[in-house]
Symmetry: C2
Subunit: 218 residues, 2 copies
């Protein structure tokens, strides 16, 4: 008889390993990706990690589009180029210089792209009745699972958000009701930085703990 | 000299362990929490996992309010009660019966609550110029890291979303510009289910792979 619960207790060594994976995860861009293919089994492992993410009311409101076709990637990259120029213009001169020198995506360099969509239900969802964003947040939890799983597989992932989500939907023939949550690029890498690239390159500094942890009330 | 990159390659055994933690993570409610305290060091380990989550443009747009005061919890619980009644009313009769029999939160049973807020910047954020939700999504990635870290520490977490976010802000004296992303309850447990509770209780079924994975285009 299959028991309906587990008492699996993780050890300190296992906790440390999870923390090490969390600390080693980076946002990886085209300057670090290698052309080496990611095979189907490995791709599925990454997606399975997402599918075992939490979802509000067990709604599993996610869809994953696996993109490998160079023409499709080229079209996505064109949307990035347009949005990136618009994005850069929002920064003051000094920041803008730094911005334009950063490599912010790896759409074409990454052998595997996955577009992750939120598919809303047209019936009520348990847990989403007071906070309508919960379905979107479930999809984000899936993405974070995929990110960690990829890193453990020694595969880098980059989340490209400098895109027009409506353009991406059109390129991928997405149903109208779907919403793009994340456009993800995956590839083996020549290395992983040991700090976030934007921290290394002094775009911003890490916030001190006392700025982000509040006891009991503001 | 500190190197600025790491070649840490994880092994198959380590990949399997991460997958096991991902698979063992549950949404835990008051029916499973034990009153045992979570000490400060352990609480910080959970928050540190969040702080090493990805954030758009390295913006770290998160704030964590640690709530242990029973009076505060009581007020939060009152908001849950109101929203839960409204939520239940949205379901048809049969589903509503099941809904009202589910224990959907553990606010008072959990020794530790953490309210996680998104703090928007009033200057442009790299990576958020085309997709304004990216800051919120960064906070969700932090929460998913916390969830996994807690599970590895053999601590259950429940994400309570049946709350009026504005009421929670008022209760916690939150600055007006902050937005509640997740209200999290943490505690040791008597056990972890080996499936999502809503799957076990037949609220919904797991979607087949071919419904959520799309090759190249819709």
């Amino acid at each position: 008889m299959k028991s309906d619960f587990t008492q699996r207790l993780f050890t300190e060594q296992e906790q440390d390993l999870l923390f090490e994976i969390i600390m080693s995860r980076r946002d990886v861009r085209g300057n670090r990706f290698l052309p080496k293919e990611i095979d189907q089994e490995t791709t599925l492992k990454i997606i399975q990690a997402g599918l075992h993410g939490p979802s509000v009311g067990f709604s599993q409101p996610w869809e994953f589009v696996i993109v490998k076709n160079p023409e499709t990637k080229q079209q996505i990259k064109a949307s990035f180029n347009t949005e990136n120029t618009k994005g850069a213009d929002q920064f003051c001169e000094e920041k803008k210089d730094t911005y334009t020198n950063l490599k912010l995506e790896g759409i074409e360099e990454a052998p595997l792209n996955i577009a992750v969509f939120y598919k809303p239900k047209n019936t009520p969802v348990l847990g989403q009745t007071s906070m309508p964003n919960m379905g979107r947040y479930s999809v984000v939890c899936a993405i974070q699972n995929m990110w960690l799983m990829a890193r453990s597989l020694n595969i880098g992932m980059g989340w490209v958000s400098i895109l027009d989500p409506e353009k991406v939907k059109t390129i991928l023939n997405s149903p109208k009701e779907n919403e793009l949550i994340g456009y993800l690029c995956f590839g083996y890498t020549d290395m992983f930085y040991d700090q976030p690239e934007l921290e290394l390159k002094k775009w911003d500094t890490r916030k001190p703990l006392n700025e982000v942890i509040i006891e009991e009330k503001y």
